[in-house]
Assembly symmetry: C2
Homo-oligomer: 211 residues x 2
């Protein structure tokens, strides 16, 4: 039981995985689950689940396990998933359009409220109900509208400048699809979505295999 501010980031990164599994169990009508079962499902040790949860409280009952509905709700609360989050997308090329059409964000309460691009051909067009604005409008938009997360889907060359604009206008969460290491000030969170990097480390292990 450490102070709330001191929860290791690896723990925080696992909580959404637990939350997702619990939501699934909840849908299946499951009432109770043990750390044993949850761990088997997720490929995690039961002790790790119990330890992770212990940072935030005592949610289980000895001899029984965890109430699925209760724990699911607790985790949502801890993570801040009991509210809607507003995001802007910057970069509406191929990748940006795919992001706009992806239903998974909205389903989990992450709403893309505006999209920006610098390409004159794209500005003014509408994709999945979002009209693309000039990137010149981005600072004003951020001043006038609450936005918590910026999705960066521009090229590596343009990404840092976009991030600087987002950060300068109060956006403290960045979801980065550009293939570059971003620089963000303390207090800002950036997460990289990098399928190519994932493949490039996987190949190390596949090298030795047949085929």
């Amino acid at each position: 039981m450490t102070t709330l501010l001191g929860v290791p980031e690896v723990v925080i990164d696992r909580l959404p995985i637990y939350a997702r599994a619990l939501a699934m169990l909840e849908m299946q009508g499951r009432q109770v689950v043990s750390s044993q079962e949850l761990g088997a499902e997720l490929g995690v040790t039961p002790a790790q689940i119990r330890k992770d949860l212990s940072y935030f409280g005592r949610f289980g009952k000895q001899g029984r396990g965890y109430n699925v509905q209760r724990l699911a709700a607790e985790l949502k609360g801890i993570l801040g998933l009991d509210r809607e989050w507003r995001m802007v997308l910057v970069g509406v090329g191929n990748l940006g359009r795919a992001i706009l059409s992806y239903r998974g964000f909205a389903e989990e309460g992450f709403r893309i409220v505006a999209a920006f691009d610098r390409n004159a051909d794209t500005i003014g067009e509408t994709f999945d109900g979002v009209e693309v604005q000039s990137i010149a409008n981005l600072p004003r938009f951020l001043k006038d509208n609450p936005v918590q997360v910026g999705i960066v889907a521009v090229s590596a060359a343009g990404a840092q400048e976009v991030v600087d604009t987002l950060v300068a206008n109060g956006v403290r969460g960045i979801l980065n699809y550009a293939p570059i290491a971003l620089h963000v000030p303390p207090g800002t969170r950036a997460k990289d979505i990098e399928p190519v990097l994932a493949l490039q480390s996987m190949t190390y292990y596949l090298k030795g295999a047949t085929s």
Copy 2:
């Protein structure tokens, strides 16, 4: 200096980041770089870079640093990026189509050689030069063609079955876009691409912020 088989996975996961930065420096015509500079660029300590590299050899020169071209080539060799990798895509919905149209894979030597879906309306259509086949063809295709990686872009409900088919037919690398924890046997590598999970842990830190 540990045995090659014992390199920690976290180290392997960082190598592609180094490789990418070095490729960039190389394009800029840079000859030499120190762990200091590289670390500043990537937000990593110089000691960590040196330690990571020391698992594989001695690539630097005291007092000088690393030859950019040489180190870039070494890392590519270590990771197995000096060859082409063949992948199949399973699931050609919205997400699958976005993956097919993504140029980033091919640019780094990862080629999607076939795509499969179970939806009769989609089978036979062509996206970005790849014709969609019935998922019933998947086992035969894998027997007849060398494929190292399977990209899973089906729903959570269908993902495990797809993975089982891939694994049963010799695919040892899985790039998973489905929002579920997969079960794979030892010797198989699975990596999850999960933008929603990334957002859901980010919100923990954003909760307290203004706006």
